[in-house]
Symmetry: D3
Subunit: 166 residues, 6 copies
Amino acid sequence: MTHGTDTLTRPPARLRTLVAAGLLAAVPAMPAAALTTEERAKRGGEVIRSLNNGQPQPNLERMREEFPFLAEATEAYALGDVWSRPGLDTRTRQLAAVTAFAAIGETAFMKIHAGYALNAGVSEDELKEIIYMVTVPAGFPRAISAARSLSELFAERRLSAEGGTP
Amino acid sequence: MTHGTDTLTRPPARLRTLVAAGLLAAVPAMPAAALTTEERAKRGGEVIRSLNNGQPQPNLERMREEFPFLAEATEAYALGDVWSRPGLDTRTRQLAAVTAFAAIGETAFMKIHAGYALNAGVSEDELKEIIYMVTVPAGFPRAISAARSLSELFAERRLSAEGGTP
Amino acid sequence: MTHGTDTLTRPPARLRTLVAAGLLAAVPAMPAAALTTEERAKRGGEVIRSLNNGQPQPNLERMREEFPFLAEATEAYALGDVWSRPGLDTRTRQLAAVTAFAAIGETAFMKIHAGYALNAGVSEDELKEIIYMVTVPAGFPRAISAARSLSELFAERRLSAEGGTP
Amino acid sequence: MTHGTDTLTRPPARLRTLVAAGLLAAVPAMPAAALTTEERAKRGGEVIRSLNNGQPQPNLERMREEFPFLAEATEAYALGDVWSRPGLDTRTRQLAAVTAFAAIGETAFMKIHAGYALNAGVSEDELKEIIYMVTVPAGFPRAISAARSLSELFAERRLSAEGGTP
Amino acid sequence: MTHGTDTLTRPPARLRTLVAAGLLAAVPAMPAAALTTEERAKRGGEVIRSLNNGQPQPNLERMREEFPFLAEATEAYALGDVWSRPGLDTRTRQLAAVTAFAAIGETAFMKIHAGYALNAGVSEDELKEIIYMVTVPAGFPRAISAARSLSELFAERRLSAEGGTP
Amino acid sequence: MTHGTDTLTRPPARLRTLVAAGLLAAVPAMPAAALTTEERAKRGGEVIRSLNNGQPQPNLERMREEFPFLAEATEAYALGDVWSRPGLDTRTRQLAAVTAFAAIGETAFMKIHAGYALNAGVSEDELKEIIYMVTVPAGFPRAISAARSLSELFAERRLSAEGGTP
C-alpha cells in the first residue's frame, strides 16, 4: 500500500481505477434540479463507494433502519448533492472536510473523511499538515485530539494492509 | 480583474510574480528549530506579504503596539512556523483555512483568508464550493454567514479593481 | 395585533388562513423520494411563505444570485425536505428551532425563526420561556444575547403593526 | 410499554398519573421570589421525579457529595426555577431541551432529557423529527451523534420494558 | 486613575473602599440555602455594585422589564449565588471569568468582566496575559477578537478618566 | 499528601522545592525574541516538568514520533513561549487555564491542567469554585462534565498518594 509520504506525485490511482471501472460513471456534473431524491440518494451511494474503496459506509447502513430520513438526507443531500459537485477535486474537498471536522472537534467524522482522503491519494504527511494548521484557527486541544485520531487511523490501515481486518 | 469564474486554469500569476520579485525568496523550507523568534517573525512577515499583494496586514500592525506578544505569536508562530511549511501548496492551505474559519463561525478571519486565497489564484467559484460544503459539517447558519462575508469581499475587490479603494 | 400573552388559546389564525387560501395546499405530507429537486424547492418556497405571512424570505432571495446552490439547498433541503415534514406541528418545530439557534449563538437566525413562530401563533411569553431555558444547556451569555434579539423583534413587530415599516 | 410510534394520540399517561398521585402537587406556578433555596431545591427534586418515573436522577445524587453547590444549583436553579415554570407544557419543554442539547453536541444530556420526554408522552417519532431538524442549524455530525444516542436509549428502554435492567 | 501597569502591588483600593463604606457588608459568606430568591437577588445587586464602582449594570436594568426572570436569574443565581461565593478572591474570579468569556467567543461579556477586573485591582498587563494564553486552548481568532475588545475598553476608561463619558 | 481543602494558606511547597532544586532556573523571564526554537522547546520542557512533579508529559512524548511539529509547537510555543511568561503567577495561570478548558468542553485537557494546578498549590476547593463558575458563561453540561473529570482526578491522586499507581 503506497498512500503516504510522497506529497508531490499524488497518485489517485484507486480513484482512477474506480472511474475506469464505471463506478463513478453515474455521477453527473449537471445540477441536481431535475433529479428525484431517489436518484440523488443513488448518486450519493456512488460517491460513498468511490471514496470508500467500493464499499458502503457501515454507519450509514446502520442508521437507515431507525433513522431513515437522516440516512436519506446524508446520502441524497450531503453526498449526492454536495460531495458530488464538480467544482472541487476530490483531494481538495477531502482535505477541506478534514480541516472542518477537526476544527469543530468532530474527530470521529474527521477520521472517516481522513480515510477517504487517503483513498483519494492524499498522503499521510498532507493530513498532518492540516492538523498542524488547525492549531491556529481552533487551538491546540482540537489539533491534538485530531492527531490522536489520525494516529489510530494510520495504525488501523497499516494493520489492514498487512492482512489484519480492524 | 480576472480572479473568479475559471476553475480549471487557476493562474496564480500574482504569487509567481512575488516569487520572481524575490519577495518569497527568504521563506526557507527548512525546519524552524535553528531559527530565533526574530527570524521566525521576519519569515511570518514575508508570508503575509506574499499572501496580501506585497502589503503588511493592517490588523496585525495595529495589534503590535498594545498586544506585542500576540502580534509576535501571530507572525512568528501562526505565519512564520505554520503557514510557511512546505507540505501544502498555498492554494490548498488557503482553501482549508477558509473552511476552518467558516465552520467555527469566525467570518472576519474567513474573509481575510478568502482574500489571500483569491490572491493565490483560487477562483471565486472554488470558494463558493467550500461554503456549500460547510453546510454538512457545521450547518446552514455558518454557511449562510460565510456566504454573506464572501459576497462583501467579492464586491470590495471588484470596486477596488475598478479604481475605488474600499 | 394579538400575538402574545395568551399561552392557552394559541390561535394559529394566520396559518389557518393561508391553508384556507390554498397557499399550503401544495405541501404534501408524502416522502420526498419521488420529488425532483425543483419540486422540493417549490415546496420549500411554500413553506417559507406559510411561515412568513405569504412573503418570500428576503435574505434567501438575495443569496440566490451569487450562491445559487446554497439558496437551492436552503429551499429544497432545509425547508422543502425538513421543515415540511408532518411529524411535528408548526408551533413545536418553530419553538425547537428557536431553542437550537439560541443555544448555538446564531441570534440572527433565531430572530427570523422567532418571527415565524409568532406568525404560527406562538406567544411572546412562550418565546421568553425558551430563552430562560437556554441558560441551563448553554449558559447566560447565549440566553442574554437571544433576549436582546427577541426584544428587537417584538419592538419591530409592534412598530410594523402600528403602520410603520421596519 | 407503548411509548413510540403514534405521533397523533400522544398519551402523557404517566405524567397524568404522577399529578394524580400528588407527586407534582408541590410544584407551584408562583414566582420563586419568596422561596428559600432549600424550598427551590425541594421543588427541583419534585420536578426530577415527575420527569423520571418517580425516581431521583442518579448522576445528580452522585454529584451531591463532592460538588454540593453544583448539585444544589442544578436542583434549585435548573430544575426548581427554570424547569418548574408553567409557561411551557412538559412535552414542549422537553422537546426544546432535546433540541438544544443535540445542537450543542451534549449527547449524554440529550439522552437523559429524551428519556424524560418519552416519560412525558413524547413519541419516538417526534424525537426523531427533532434530530432530523438539527441537521439544519448545527450540521450532520451533531444530528448523527444524537441519532446514535437515541438508538441506545430506545434499545435500553425496550430491554427494560421486557424485564431487563440496563 | 491608576489601574494598569503595576502587576506587583495590585492595590484593590476601590474594593477596600467599598467594603469600608459598608457596600459589601450585606454579602454574607454563608450558604444560600436559607435565603429567599429576593434576598439572593439583593445580594447579587450588591455584588454588581461592588464590581462596577458602586453602579448598577445598565444592561441588566434594561433586561428587567421585558425578561424579568432572566434578570432575576442573572442577579440571584449568577451574581448572588455564584459570584458571591467566598472560595475565590475577586481578582482570581474575574481573571478566570475573562478567560472563559474570551475562550467561548463572548467578547461583549468578556469586556464587561474585564472592566470589573480592572476595578478590582487587576492590571491591564494581567488581562493581556490572559488573552495571550487563550491562543492555546481556543486558537488565535478568539484571542485576537478579545484583544480588540480589551483595546476598546482600555481606551474608553482612559477617556473616561480624563473627564469624557464614553 | 496535603493538596486540597485549605483555601487560605495555599502552600506551593512543591513548586518552591523545584525552584530551589534548580529545575526552574533555566526559565528566563526575558522575551523570546533572541531564542531559537530549540531553546524555546527546551524551556517548554522545563515548564512541563515544573508543573508535572519533575516528569515529562506522557501524551506529549507519544505525539513526538508521529506528529513532530505539533509536539514541538506545544513545547516551544504553548509551554515555552506562553506558559513561561512571568506576567501571571502559576496558580492564577492554571486556574484560568482550567476555566478555559472546562468552558469549551475540553475535559481531558482540563484534567491535565487541574493536576498541574494541584501541584502548584491550588486547593481542590478552589478548582470546585472554578467549575461552579463555569455554569454561568457556558451552561450546566460543561460544568457537570468538568466536575466528573475532577472527581476522577481527585480519586486517582488519592489512590496514587496511598501507594497505588493509576
